[in-house]
Amino acid sequence: MKFKISLPEKPSHRAPVTCVGWSSTEEVYSAGDDSQLLSWAVSTARATKVAQLAADVYPTDLHFLPRAGAALGKHGDLILITCVDGRFHIVTRAGKVERSVEAHKGAVLVGQWGSDGTGLLTAGEDGFIKIWSRSGMLRSTVVSSENSVYSASWSPDGQAIAYTQGKCLVIKQLAPNTKPLKWKAHEALVLCLAWSPASELIVSGGEDCKYRVWDSQGRQMFSSTFHDNHIISIAWSPNGDLFAIGSFNTLRLCDYSGWSRSLEKPNTGCIYKMAWSTDGTQLAGACANGQVLFAHVVEREVHYMNFTALVSEKKLVTVKNVIDETNEQLELPERVIQLALRYNHLVLTTPTQCYIYNTTNWNTPAIFDLKDGSVILLLLCEKHMLLVEKTTVGIYNYQGRLIASPRWPNMRLDHLRSSHITLSPDTLAVRDAGDFKSVHIIDLTNTRTSTETTNIQHSMQIIQISLDQWGETSSRKLVVLDKTRDLYLVHIRSTNKIFSKLGRKIESFQWNASDNIIAAIQDTQLVVWYCPTACFNAKLLKICSMQYDSPELGRSPRISDFIGNSVSVRRADGALLNVPVSPFPSLIHKYAQDNQWTEALNLCRTTNNETVWACLAVLAIQSNSDTIDIAEEAFANINHHEKVFFLQHIKTLPNKVEQKAQLALLGGKIQEAELLLLHNGMVFQAIYMNMNLHNWTRALDLGIKHKTHIDTVLYLREKYLDSLGKPENNNKFNTLRETIQIDREKVEQKLAMELQKRKSSS
């Protein structure tokens, strides 16, 4: 991935250009020390003069009012221009000055609209940061310091401001009575900073000729090597996956984690300011030699299995098949904005259309028109794909037909990030835009239900969700990463959605593209869970997983992709590592899915690997078919003798239903076991099972519901608490205890009778 730079032959400004901004994806505005406001058509790189500002106006910063949603609002395109003389001007698109406000003593150095467009911040040489309403009324003075504020930025949610102070960076929350977070960021003056619009990352650059990436707690994520000159400008791409660094004769494109993707040395002098177009494919820069620089991101790559697709030019995509070394050139009428390659389909979007290619046929893509013309997100799964535009969400099949338009509560698409939405062949899951603890689940199996959502609540704020891609609809699993970096698994089709923990300190994770296997970075090592459903038992989970701990992973690696039998890990320095994963667990998964247990068993016997046996054991006890013998053999092979004994005990049970229930219990499916028993009228067993699990309240509820054995529950509970020497503290039990008389002997008798009945039915 790199920049392709185009510079107009002659500079259109007579003096250094100080600021640039995008009015649309095709038009750039620039202003310079010659007080001219120029508009550039990007395709031709030709400038037309919009306005000659007053002679004493020396602009320092220019920012277009962000468009909230797709609508422009009644105010139209407003440009905020800040000046050296301490004023800022609000200018219309046509160049008419609407309002001029005296804002600071000395020069105003920063002017930035808030992301919702209702307010703006200015920062000046006098050390003040002020927030203004759109009409130019002073709302508040947020910061007053002694040092000049060279750069400042809103946080993505608009609740905080990051700014520079000498060698330090400061994050100031706007909520009152919060202490600002301040840390030393550079060895010399900090000149520029930018807060990612999509994440918690901040990049800063300074006179020590380095740029650094920070998280919002002030922890350093990356520090660059020395550059030849000061870092003067930084700009984040709108979706937060790239940022650009500007310096003297230097333009660098960096990955969000900091490592440099490419370096260009254009002959422009200093690049004072840069701005990305809203689709994240183009960048404009204001250069000291009076030129305006245009850069286009080319050579974006996507890989899947044996295919590699590369945007080699604006309108040209090259697809390479590495097996037969064939190349395909796909020419498009417009420039490519997004591309995704998965499940044998390549999907491209241009400003107006979406192209779907099948990997078997590159000649006839399915084409359909986009509704709004700007795709925010593109997610692919095996059967269909999700396309999020500015105001609409659509599920399309690979023939290009719209098959569903899912809706969910609190749908705010402009805040949607790829980590907050996940698609599987039958389900869509989205994190709520306001309540970060809840996830909406949308069933896509039929069109009628695609507007109904169920909600799952977690106890912590969720930062990433992901659905498994394979397997039956009824066993669809969602994996949730929360703010404390704990990873949980939840069966979304089960009635009570229990979160079971997979692991802690998870930095990143990913489902396999076609198997129910998870790869994750836990602390500094790579963990692959071959059977995530084994998470009910930590010991089992550990056996059927792979830990890859190697110094070559480096300090903070992250999962880049997980396709087939290899995990691709991105190191902190940008290098990709390929870590092979055992192919057998996925085969076992497939055999189990197709009920070919003997083949699975044969495979295990051939490979004779503990992990594979463990996978088989887990799948066997979680299966609905008759797999006790297989489970027994599998557990015997991983030396879990207690489970073997238990399985043998199950086999002696007289009742088929009870056998199944016990097996389900062994597989950690308590709910299923209880349902099985209740459906077959074995209320006592259900209650007894719950009591054995110390799930007293549930046992009591069952007793009350079925009006039987309430006294048994109460009696056993009492006995249990007595043995521990603890008083009853559950109100439900206390109140019932008062109303119901317990005849000890009678209960003991009843109990004995029930147990006898169980035995005698054999």
């Binding site: 370096l263 070559e552 390929n578 870590v579 092979p580 051939t606």
Partner: protein
């Protein structure tokens, strides 16, 4: 009538007389107030002055010509000098440009070598993967 000698005498006497009064006659008997010798000397001086002026004029002309010539030469020298300075500057800036170009290329090389390093690591890991896969295949074919 006076005789010639008388006339002569008279003339002398008159001459003396007139001479005392400051009046003289020159050779062509015109009355003048300067003594004839002085007058002659004066006219001689005048002539000589004339000649001198003429000579000086000529000299000035020559000098002017010379000055113009020198000026021209100076100008030419100045032009050459500036040209030389310009050339020297260009040379110097070329050197500098070369240096910055060198720097730029160096930076680009560093970038590429980093990229190369990344690719090497990737290749290494892929080779390792290949090895492991071969191992698995071997295992499966030989059992």
């Amino acid at each position: 009538m006076l005789t010639n000698s008388q006339n002569w005498k008279f003339q002398i006497i008159m001459g003396e007389f007139l001479g005392r009064a400051g009046i003289f006659f020159d050779e062509v008997d015109r009355i003048c107030i300067l003594e004839p010798e002085v007058s002659k000397l004066t006219s001689d001086l005048k002539e000589e002055c004339q000649i001198y002026i003429e000579k000086i004029d000529e000299f000035q002309k020559i000098v002017n010509k010379f000055i113009a010539m020198v000026d021209q030469l100076g100008e030419a020298v100045e032009r050459k000098k500036i040209k030389a300075i310009g050339a020297r500057n260009i040379l110097q800036s070329m050197e500098k440009e070369k240096e910055t170009h060198h720097h730029q290329l160096q930076a680009l090389i560093a970038e590429k070598s980093m990229e190369l390093e990344r690719l090497k690591i990737h290749l290494n890991s892929l080779q390792k993967t290949e090895m492991e896969q071969n191992e698995v295949i071997n295992e499966l074919t030989h059992c």
